[in-house]
Amino acid sequence: MTDQVKPQASVLANLDEVRAMIKRHKLNDSIFAIIGLVALMIGLLTLLTLFVDLVMDGYPRFNLDFMSEFPSRRAGSAGLLSAWVGSLLVLSVTFISAVPMGVGAGIYLEEYAPKNWFSDLIEINVTNLAGVPSIIYGLLALGLFVYILGLGQSIVTAGLTLGLLILPVVIVSTREAIRSIPVAIREAAYAVGATKWQVVSQHVVHYSFGGILTGVIIGMSRAIGETAPIITIGALTFIAFLPPSPVSAEPPYLNFDWLFSGFTVLPIQMFSWLSRPNPEFHINAAATGAIIIVVTLLMNGTAIWLRYNMRKKIKW
């Protein structure tokens, strides 16, 4: 019934050879798979090593005193109080300056800007700014904020510097979030008579809130760890006091003197302890490093988790 066809010259003639060759090739596959896994693991395990190393080195300092003491000449009794308060204040300035500006810029570029050389120019600018080394922002701040504007080596200078630094992150993530909202949603809103700003503020921004938030969190976590630009503005000094409190019991209740106060932040404090020759201070540095890592990883982790969940939930 099924007449046989005569064997063809190609594979069948030397099937054993072909099989041996395939086996060899597949061995290459497996070898590479192992090398690849190892390469990835180097990256991942390094972080783990780094973290474990920091925690182990810094272990003796993990107590409440470390958080509630000022820096001191004696490593054992030195603490992070002025550093974490400083970080908090600097970051609030960063948040207040970068978020409205970055989100506004993102909205403008996606919703308003005509597609011409001007929007191209802004776009190229944003991409390039994201690649500018952070220390260059420090030089900008040193020249502009510290001396030309006379803001000094203060919290407001540091906050604005970091604000400019994370601006591209906020702009880019705002744009991406807005871009993922389909035109149909906008048309639906326009069709019931909404103005452009109503469409943008009540619909576009509203629905892309999660994406924007993700970008803001990533930006802020970057700002927490940034050291170079803040050193460059000349903030590396011994700070054993707190800035004046932003709130007070008597009218006018709020005061803004703290903006112009000297300060230190967590990574600067870590760097300053790290550059001491006395290894006792290295313990403090390690503990500070562990704290910085935990904070940034928590923030980044939240952002990535948010983004991942949004991708899963929303199907336009």
């Binding site: 099924t2 066809v5 005569k6 190609s10 594979v11 069948l12 060759m21 597949k26």
Partner: protein
């Protein structure tokens, strides 16, 4: 019956296929591929014809969770290409494939055609040159590209790219060639060229072609199978299928009442 005198190159026996997630895409397909003949698969979108074709070179292995049941047996050695012990790579070395959209590699024309040979470990320049020339001639592309074999394949027109992909598939002397709607992305002139080429290739090897275009099936194939929702509705001589189908469903599809 004419078929008795024609040897069978391969056949599927009670072939079932399940996509990842359980979608039962092929339901017990039993069908022969006659040696050095063109068999066409027709049917409406989603009928399983491409799924069936891609079983032959185990393309479904590339995506996790897909599952075959039944057999596809190749002759003369009676190898069940779906068997666990048979390596998909070995199968693909015997059965080559041309895709719906031309998919040349980002390499020169020469390297595209030589790819299969290089994958098989061939390094001898003379052998490669000869084989590339032979394949390009076989795919009726030699005259157009012989002076620019080092050009990037992307610079060719769509029809030329598809012929290049045929040359790539030819270069390794396959026993069977699978064509998955090879002309659906091409203009009518390029389509005519490819159809002519397939008719010529029939002298060398066995062809299984999926086509959306019934006229194309009628023009080029020796045998035609009509599939619908994963079932093989009717299989037979192309002439018979198109002039006197035995099943009502086939007739409805052929005459355009459906699909």
């Amino acid at each position: 019956m004419v078929t008795v005198t024609t040897p069978i190159k391969a056949e599927s026996r009670n072939l079932n296929f399940f996509y990842n997630g359980g979608n039962h895409a092929l339901k017990g397909i039993t069908m022969p591929l006659y040696d050095k003949k063109i068999t066409a698969l027709i049917g409406p979108s989603g009928c399983g014809k491409s799924t069936y074709l891609r079983c032959f070179n185990r393309m479904h292995d590339l995506y996790p969770g897909n599952r075959y049941e039944g057999q596809i047996v190749m002759h003369p050695d009676n190898t069940n290409v779906l068997a666990d012990g048979v390596d998909a790579i070995e199968v693909r070395m015997r059965i080559s494939m041309v895709f719906q959209k031309p998919n040349p590699f980002p390499k020169s024309i020469y390297e595209n055609v030589a790819y299969g040979l290089r994958v098989r470990g061939e390094t001898n320049k003379r052998v490669l040159d000869d084989k590339v020339e032979e394949a390009l001639k076989g795919a009726a592309l030699w005259n157009e590209v012989k002076d620019r074999q080092q050009d990037l394949a992307f610079n060719l027109s769509g029809g030329q790219q598809q012929r290049l992909c045929i040359a790539r598939a030819l270069a390794t002397d396959p026993e069977i060639m699978l064509f998955d709607e090879p002309t659906s992305a091409l203009d009518p002139i390029a389509t005519a060229n490819i159809e002519e080429l397939m008719s010529e290739l029939r002298n060398k090897l066995t062809i299984l072609v999926v086509t959306h275009n019934m006229q194309q099936a009628a023009r080029i194939s020796d045998y035609t199978a009509y599939m619908y929702l994963g079932d093989l509705i009717e299989y037979g001589d192309t002439d018979k299928i198109f002039t006197n189908p035995s099943r009502k469903e086939t007739e409805d599809y052929i005459t355009g009442k459906f699909g």
